[in-house]
Symmetry: C2
């Protein structure tokens, strides 16, 4: 038993003694006999009839089960082409596939016929290759847990709506995490025989708008894959069925859905998505291009804006952290508006380029305060505060309030304000 | 890049050269220009219209997504009280919640009202406690990836049906793996104050039959949890909503679903499930009781009985391994009926008391043969062959053919026979 486990075990007893926390649950305090009588009225006796209220779940056991509770993705202003993950309702690190965020770049989700779909590798290769999905499935495969994050996560909707308070589903609902399975792209490129001088890939989807984007060959040969499975079963239609490119740690737009073509080339193709959309227009008038990697980020998902504190006393603060650079090494939490920070506990396994669940035990004293988190990845890169990000980007605080700017790769530590009445608000700007 | 990655990259080229493997995919061999023309006809040109066949996935983007392909649990002879996971169709280690196996011990699935459900801890404790689910959710939580396995997995249905060939869904479909989140049971027991002399827990579900079973206090204090989340969202109804006991590594029946009561006691309660059902009747006439832990096990899920080889040449053999004792350290594969064994590759992360995905590249020469796997866990315990298990249990080979015996904890290495026509059969007995 390690120290953390031990402290966890003594948590309730010590917590109650130390902080006057509101212990959850009813203590049946009138003596054991009476307690057991009370217990029997709730739970029935060992041999008596069941008394707990329930109805039977139909005569049929579903052969594909459905959720027990009604969680939903949230439509965005780009709906039906974009929806967001309900972070405030989720636990652990695996996002249920039905709740994975969706960004379609303006295309409806194509309903592709599995048998008719083809995937082509051509361009600067010795042997252009055309695959059916069944053919790809015969090749060596790999499974890895990775997050996907839209470069616009943490920011875009916040400003497009201007309705405070925004929930964490609105501000950070464009990242999700799944166990993906597919063929390493390096295997396919090796087989095709990449020619000397090649340095980039142009990747294209089979959607109505034929989403096209460039990725560097070095990244493709490192850890990219052509994925056909998400969380054990076929990739969901809105997430790229039957094939999606997975480029771990790179902004979501590079992970081309409904993948049908990779052309090996010797330069980036400067598609509209990489020159006109997924860029940051800076005050100088210049735009930052080709910022692939998702920076260290994190957010407290519970409690968060739109939720309500259960009361004074113990509250387990929890959230997720992620970095396109690799493994999360540390998450710190502040419960006093950033004045001081303490280490949160990271839930194992902590996997590279995957969501990492963090937890932080806290006692709320009932006063107004601000809570937030910040992450550090394996490179020592630290998620900045808003003031720090302002300085890093060379902008002013007013810059963030400009709703004409479409900000990408915004990764400032996100504060939630807790009001004395227990309500939580997004008062970042 | 590690060695395995490198060898993977050279796989297709070397594999083709070495073994005359059938390379998947069509090589567009008539020259680059023609290849690209062919490519364009499939994939469209960079700026032209999309030509690939697809229809749009409705005007609405689903707020809770549905599967892309029609995988299903399989009804068993105990249906609707038991269904099995389609191992042959799955990838990675996370079982989609909708496909998690179900064993209800003869009860229909109760449809419990979340707000009315109560969970009681009483018996030999200083402070009996009664919790709502909301109260439990306020307490410190933990998330862990763990398998569940019915003690009857690998055997029961095989004999109950007597229809060869049985698929891996029939033989090994009663194990699944999820990321579970809940309250450590140790936290709750500490808070209740376990009295001196207590040594067991009697755990009871809120189903029609009030499934009741004993677990040792030592295990409860080690790593058991009261789980309310399965793969990120609420536990599925057929898997215990709103609360299920999770006893990692112990046979499925101890992981009480619809948990409503734990009574702390000083002895096992000898319920019918632990004295009359989940036991092994041995030739001596004695039964083995209280065999909690799931032994080292594994099975090749693809190719497996009922599937068909795609052809001679390269075939990635894959499957899952698990042990209630902890972490899987090694999986070996034999492709010649057990005469020789070679190490399979384990997909990381390899987690304790979780499914572990293994892969083994192989070239099938088209001749009849038998393939099988065996696992070794962190304690050095090795999954036995059928002959070895026969010796360990002190039975005869005829014993396995007795369809009157309900065998639990059967974990023999499971062979699949590949016929020259590419069909696969279960010819274990």
């Amino acid at each position: 038993m390690d120290t953390k486990q031990r402290s966890r075990r003594h948590f309730l007893r010590d917590g109650a003694a130390l902080a006057g926390m509101a212990v959850a649950g009813v203590r049946l305090a009138k003596g054991q006999a009476q307690a057991e009588k009370s217990a029997a009225s709730v739970a029935g006796s060992d041999n008596g009839e069941a008394t707990a209220p329930f109805r039977l779940f139909g005569p049929e056991a579903p052969l594909y089960g459905t959720p027990s509770e009604n969680l939903q993705r949230m439509p965005t202003i780009e709906y039906p082409f974009a929806t967001r993950t309900p972070q405030q309702d989720l636990h652990g690190i695996i996002t249920p596939s039905g709740l994975h965020f969706v960004v379609n770049h303006g295309s409806p989700t194509p309903d592709i016929n599995l048998l008719e779909h083809r995937f082509l590798i051509h361009g600067m290769v010795d042997r252009p290759l055309l695959f059916t999905v069944a053919e790809l499935k015969r090749l060596p495969s790999v499974s890895r847990v990775h997050f996907l994050a839209c470069a616009g996560n943490s920011y875009v909707d916040t400003f497009a709506r201007k309705n405070l308070p925004q929930s964490v589903q609105e501000t950070h609902g464009a990242t999700s995490c799944s166990e993906w399975t597919g063929v390493p792209l390096s295997v396919l490129l090796q087989e095709a025989g990449v020619q000397k001088g090649a340095s980039w890939l142009l990747c294209e989807g089979a959607d109505l708008k034929k989403h096209s984007i460039s990725i560097p060959l070095t990244k493709a040969m490192d850890d990219a894959m052509v994925a056909y499975v998400q969380n054990g079963e076929a990739v969901r239609r809105e997430n790229g069925y039957p094939l999606r490119l997975l480029v771990p740690g790179f902004e979501g737009t590079r992970n081309v859905k409904w993948l049908r073509r990779i052309k090996v080339v010797d330069r980036p193709y400067m598609t509209k998505w990489e020159t006109g959309v997924y860029t940051n227009l800076l005050p100088s008038g210049k735009a930052r291009w080709f910022q692939f990697e998702i920076e260290p980020n994190s957010v407290i998902t519970r409690p968060s804006a739109g939720l309500h504190m259960a009361g004074r006393g113990f509250c387990e603060i929890t959230g997720i952290a992620w970095s396109g650079g690799g493994t999360i090494r540390r998450v710190e939490v502040s419960t006093n508006g950033g004045r001081t920070w303490k280490d949160a506990e990271l839930q194992h396994p902590v996997l590279p380029k995957a969501h990492t669940r963090f937890r932080f035990p806290w006692n709320w004293n009932g006063e107004e305060t601000v809570i937030q988190s910040r992450s550090t990845d394996e490179w020592g890169h630290v998620q900045p505060t808003l003031a720090e990000l302002t300085k890093i980007w060379g902008v002013t605080m007013d810059f963030w309030r400009t709703d004409t700017a479409r900000i990408q790769h915004f990764n400032a530590s996100h504060p939630w304000t807790i009001k004395p009445d227990g309500s939580l608000r997004n008062e970042i700007w």
